[in-house]
């Protein structure tokens, strides 16, 4: 194999161009002096009185920038909607990644509830330790991925329950925001009792918002995994 064939000219040119751009951008960045952001320090000093949440990142995500998180969850929903819009229900689908292994099947059945429990643990401790709704939701979805890998076509998801969970958690998030309007005067404000820092029942609405976010993310990522793993094999076409 000669060299001309292995390294194409276009690849070489684009590599050179990208290197040039990268070095230019690095030069621009080197000029920028690190200015200390004061927003984070201000939020940190407010955090103790306003939210009583031990994890400041959680209070930024669900309280100070709660509207942002609502938009983010909406984007995730729209993405899943766009993925599902072209599914042909009458088409025969089968799981393309599936290992027919008795040990894997038994292990998956044992591990499935434990992984779900671990996901809920991460969700419920989102305001106390690293973690939260998004991370816990993805952990719960990984339990379903394990079941797809182990059981294959025999594992059927109940789409009605998934849709219900997704819809109710989305509506619950908005209702919590409206509750904040009614009781606190601001959308997504924190009208519930705050409790003490570091307790499981603390932070007011923050753990409830993260529970809704976690359920929604779990349902949506599960639907996504099912779409990509259960399709008709594109390689046969």
């Amino acid at each position: 194999m000669n060299l001309k064939k292995t390294i194409r000219l276009k690849t070489l040119l684009s590599t050179l161009m990208v290197s040039f751009l990268t070095i230019t951008l690095l030069g621009i960045l080197a000029q920028v002096s690190g200015e200390h952001a004061t927003l984070g320090n201000r939020l940190l000093s407010l955090n103790h009185n306003l939210t009583q949440s031990a994890n400041a990142v959680t209070s930024v995500v669900t309280y100070f920038r709660g509207l942002d998180t609502l938009g983010e969850v909406t984007i995730l929903f729209l993405s899943i909607f766009g993925v599902g819009i072209g599914i042909n229900r009458s088409e025969h689908l089968h799981t393309i990644l599936h290992y027919d292994n008795a040990l894997l099947k038994m292990g998956a059945r044992v591990l499935f509830p434990v992984i779900i429990l671990f996901g809920f643990y991460i969700i419920f401790h989102g305001h106390l330790s690293p973690g939260g709704g998004f991370q816990g939701g993805v952990v719960i979805a990984s339990a379903f991925l394990l079941m797809f890998l182990a059981e294959g076509d025999a594992y059927a998801l109940d789409h009605k329950i998934l849709t219900l969970v997704e819809a109710f958690s989305g509506v619950g998030f908005v209702l919590l925001g409206l509750l904040g309007v009614l009781l606190g005067g601001l959308f997504l404000s924190n009208p519930l009792p705050l409790g003490t820092l570091g307790q499981l029942f603390s932070g007011g609405v923050l753990p409830i918002i993260y529970l809704f976010v976690g359920l929604k993310v779990a349902a949506e990522i599960t639907v996504l995994i099912e779409y990509f793993i259960r399709t008709h094999d594109a390689r046969d076409a």
Binding site: R8, K10, T11, S14, T15, M17, V18, S19, L21, T22, L25, L26, L29, G34, A37, L39, G40, N41, L43, L44, S45, N47, H48, A54, N55, A56, V57, S59, V60, V61, R65, D68, T69, E72, I75, L76, L78, S79, I80, G82, V83, G86, L128, S129, P130, G132, F134, L197, G198, V217, I221, L224, Y227, F228, T231, A234, A237
Partner: protein
């Protein structure tokens, strides 16, 4: 010797250079690959470089994570800025959503046309 490396400017330099190298690898992939799947994975790689750059440049040596645990009860200036972490959390989720949508379109395009190469797309006819 090792203390010299454990300084905030050095850490920021390493993170900046490293994330830009990853970004460059992703950009080369986007520009030179013909497979739609590889193009979107390269975009995802560029996103990861952005996350690394953003998070790494807001880390300061000696500062704590913004979590009150292990005996720390007060939020003060000894903690790193929580806002970039929260923003990157948002960005990661949006990145997953966009990547999933893009890959589902790739799958559907392959189903309709039988290939997923960007240089063989001729749905618009022969017009240049």
């Amino acid at each position: 010797m090792l203390e010299m490396l454990n300084q905030t400017p050095f850490v920021h330099t390493v993170v900046t250079v490293g994330s830009f190298v990853i970004f460059g690898i992703g950009l080369v992939g986007v520009l030179s690959k013909k497979n739609l799947f590889k193009i979107f994975l390269s975009l995802s790689l560029m996103e990861s470089a952005l996350f690394l750059f953003f998070i790494g440049n807001h880390y300061e040596v000696g500062m704590l994570a913004p979590i009150a645990a292990d005996g720390i009860t007060a939020f003060d200036g000894h903690m790193v800025d929580p806002v970039p972490q929260a923003m990157i959390l948002t960005t990661i989720v949006i990145g997953i959503a966009v990547l999933a949508l893009a890959l589902s379109y790739v799958v559907r395009y392959h189903r309709l046309s039988g290939h997923n190469r960007i240089d063989k797309m001729d749905e618009l006819g022969d017009e240049q």
